[in-house]
């Protein structure tokens, strides 16, 4: 490995360009200088690979070109994918990202927000579980999946349409009697609209349905009990299940196999998220795909734009259906 003992300073740039230090400073800070000087400085910056010390610049211009991302973790594939795409969208624009894994801890979320603000980040993107976070008006904030008031834009998938699409898809694939299984917080958030969309889809197609909803912290076994209650002579009274996430669908498919039900021959299963094994292999199940790269891009766009008036309170991006082995493929 090669090593150098120094990185170029503004002085080196001035020397290389043959101009005064003040001229370099003006170019770096976007102040007017003669065209010829500007070109010489820019060429020197390029040649030396000089990069502005943005901590110093941050103090001066109150800009750090740094954004904080609050996300529960990077272990769950949906969060991992969001983190990756937001990171890329920021880096494309020469912004840095502070990663703040919150582990669903509201106190930690608040701590990060306070920390981020006092370190003068230029903005925060947050997927949080705390509706009572204290956020300074002066710090741009874009929320994912949870509306945090009219002044804070929220970006999400069109979860209602996704729930409806799942019901319609199961109907198209021949299901007559379906179930909706959900885990998670019952607090108001965008993903909770999957339920209403699903009900709407069932009604519009005349499908019978049942729901089983368990709260965070309740044992997963309640789903197994629910399924067993609907087994008659070894046959399940459902022929389709919509699970609120791919992670749940994965566990339910395993449970169904334990109960000697064949997926998709006896019962078809659709999840939600669009998770792929190892990030880039097959879909983990047939699924409603969230447009993660588009969500990431839009969060960054909204956060960085100058005019707060063009930050609408809620933007829902379109979802799609993808076949992933747990439904009968339609040819």
């Amino acid at each position: 490995m090669k090593k150098t003992n120094s990185t170029p300073t503004m002085k080196d740039v001035a020397l290389e360009a043959g101009v005064a230090l003040g001229t370099v400073s003006k170019v770096v800070n976007g102040l007017p200088v003669g065209e010829d000087y500007r070109i010489r400085v820019e060429n020197a910056i390029k040649k030396l690979n000089y990069q502005v010390n943005s901590y110093a610049q941050g103090l001066k211009a109150n800009k750090t070109r740094t954004i904080a991302l609050l996300i529960p973790n990077t272990l769950e594939p949906f969060y991992a994918s969001l983190t990756y795409h937001i990171n890329l969208a920021l880096l494309k624009r020469k912004y840095r990202m502070l990663l703040c894994s919150t582990d669903y801890d509201s106190n930690l979320e608040q701590e990060y927000i306070t920390m981020a603000q006092q370190n003068k980040v230029d903005g925060i993107i947050g997927l949080t579980y705390n509706p009572n976070l204290v956020i300074e008006e002066s710090t741009p904030f874009v929320a994912i999946d949870r509306s945090m008031g009219p002044k804070i834009p929220c970006v999400a998938s069109d979860n209602f349409a996704g729930g409806q699409l799942a019901a319609e898809k199961l109907a198209d694939l021949g299901c007559k009697n379906i179930a909706f299984l959900r885990t998670g917080s019952s607090l108001t958030n965008e993903p909770n609209k999957r339920k209403a969309g699903f009900e709407n889809g069932c009604l519009s197609r005349g499908l019978q349905y049942e729901m089983k909803i368990i709260e965070d912290g309740e044992p997963f076994e309640e789903f197994e009990t629910f399924l067993i209650e609907h087994l008659h002579d070894g046959k399940l009274s459902f022929d389709g299940i919509f699970c609120v996430t791919d992670g749940l669908a994965y566990s339910i498919v395993k449970t169904l196999q334990r109960l000697q039900q064949r997926v998709p021959e006896d019962i078809q299963v659709i999840g939600f998220d669009g998770t792929k094994y190892f990030g880039n292999k097959d879909y983990t199940c047939s699924t409603i795909v969230q447009p993660v790269p588009e969500i990431a891009e839009l969060c960054v766009e909204l956060l960085l734009q100058e005019n707060p008036l063009s930050r609408p309170p809620l933007i829902c991006l379109p979802v799609t259906y993808a076949y992933g082995g747990t439904t009968k493929e339609k040819h």
Copy 2:
């Protein structure tokens, strides 16, 4: 959502504590003041939830309490898990993390390192694919999985022992004739020791083995061709396969199923990494588990310690075997 219009300043702390501004500054910067004053300032800081503006502090003390993590992406589970655990280990110590997804791009890696250094990060943790990176001596750097010279500590799993363990495990489980499949760069790096460890394990147990190695960019189908060449009357001449990663094992198991081979009845498969579906569910296959939380913790420890002499060039942490459905369970 609640909003406030200001975060407390050093002035507010001075007012609250009933001391001069200079006293607050001394306490914040760790300079000596009278015990009574220190307690009053610390109580005021706590009460107001005041947080030091570390950009200003960074300029003064040349410390930013910020670390950059260079990692290919957060999509692949092993990287996602490393990112998560390094983030937690840093946050526990009140350090912030800049996430830099490099997408395996050497130019991007170098760009981030230069950027990070010029922004005065306190150190860099990097899992990189470029042995020629230019790193300033003055910036602490800890490498993962690739030795970058005697002055830069490298933290990795004990990959040699892991390869050996895989071979021995297959022998213990009754295999007589096994294969090793590998994709990836042939550049010198720690994970490449899996191959030598595997060979060692085979020799010590008197196992016959074959290897099939394809380079990055070569088509995966070459593995399928290799397997088909070893099919005789519908029966594979191997009874065990060690795959260099869980991701490869996943794909190979699917290929074996297409070739009508039963896993684990006809052929047992062991992967490497310890990947779990959805980050927290079942192991994706029987596997050699990398101790990711321990790797993360050690990287951060080594990076932050003051004495560079106590940074050994290479530390290999112990791996373990975990059953994940693709081997015959030993009771």
